[in-house]
Symmetry: C3
Subunit: 183 residues, 3 copies
């Protein structure tokens, strides 16, 4: 029996939220998570514009209910890109390794990954990660850093996530592995 996990997914885009084009971020996030995790998943979704107070409010609401909260979009250098500002504003702790490593992973694919300002933070019992906007970059980034996510969520008191090893091999110290749930 795997523990049910509630995961917040937030797509942040002026154009997608106003219907100028079809949001591709939320489907990409759901697809990757469904493929990678054995846990039954309950998604809570938001599609919102690049407005810092709106983003902060969404993050606060979803972090209170979720073990993991992924955003997509709004991490570039343009004036309207404020996802990192909103995420930092509601954070209890910043985990700088996620920003560093998400950029390092993306840099293998594209030199402009340097321009991304994405961050990873903790709020309460929820780990929040800013992901890129493009479905391809979402997958590359999650492939690259997700191995550390389940143990990170353990440490902040969230759901016990179990991954499909052909997608991503989660790492936990031996003392943190709960063998009863993997059988």
């Amino acid at each position: 029996m795997y523990q049910t996990a509630r995961i917040g997914i937030v797509s942040i885009s002026d154009r997608a939220s106003s219907g100028v084009y079809q949001d591709q971020g939320l489907p990409a996030l759901k697809q990757w998570l469904t493929d990678a995790l054995y846990n039954p998943l309950e998604f809570i979704e938001r599609l919102i514009p690049d407005e810092q107070p709106v983003i902060e409010q969404a993050l606060i609401e979803l972090a209170a209910q979720c073990s993991l909260l992924l955003t997509t979009g709004g991490t570039g250098p343009a004036a309207r890109d404020v996802t990192p500002e909103a995420t930092l504003a509601i954070a209890d702790k910043v985990l700088p390794g996620f920003g560093e490593q998400m950029r390092a992973v993306s840099l293998k694919y594209v030199p402009t990954a340097i321009l991304s300002r994405q961050v990873g933070v903790v709020r309460g019992n929820c780990l929040i990660l800013n992901l890129p906007g493009q479905p391809k970059a979402i997958k590359e980034t999650l492939d690259g850093v997700f191995a550390a996510v389940p143990y990170g969520i353990d440490l902040i008191g969230g759901a016990y996530l179990e991954t499909r090893e052909d997608i991503v091999k989660a790492f936990r110290p031996k003392s943190a592995i709960k063998p009863s749930q993997t059988g």
Copy 2:
């Protein structure tokens, strides 16, 4: 026809600005940029001491007129090194990927690159990067990160920079390339 680009270059050094030795930072910056860019360039130069208010004032003045602003010097751990403090103080947005990647590039050459506190930030329509003080390290750093600079400047509304591919191959998504200017 290439767009004329205005670029600020600021050398920050107590000794060079007081004439104790000859500044080598400004010539190194001009040389690299002239070699790397097709655009006609207008440089605005400053040679100033390691005084935070003086640096902030120079950055504010030049950022208002330039698409790109490069500093050299003052990024170490010593008490007089305050270039990053001045840069962060006048920033609208911090782009942590530049600091990370400039250090990662320099680390290939010298282990003490860890000690550099250089940052990249946006102010208005200007991208500001702190570079090392030594001409050799300036070249190594610009060789290593400049591929992301032209698109970064596009995103903040600055001049459309075009690079000589034998020096550095700028990366833009296809939708951001303006073919009319490259012929």
Copy 3:
């Protein structure tokens, strides 16, 4: 004649400081430093709980007396992990390259290194580095970043450290090497 160096070592752990288990951090730090440095060393030690005001007080006291101050423990994402917060609160300057590179080194061994929030900072004439809690990770991290430490301490006016090259080869620019001390 090598210069005597005073080094602060601080183990931060609720359980070790209350006697629930034996502290392994301080012995690991002393072992590595004694192996790596030619200098006669004077250690000042503290074993304290994960309480931010207690950590800040210890760092302030030891930084006033030491050229180098190493902490172990308390850098994870859990609510009780507050070593980075305490270190940043008493810092004069942050050296982001240490956090980045310590995580990059640990990532070669374990994907959950992303979760570490360790920082390096300067306070007065003292370089302060947060290290992991496990003896094995302490050694891996110091092996990976110590080459930059002696010159970093030179630049802030601390003791002139000299390393055994079979353990770690310190890097200094030629102009910073004092040949009289290495004979």
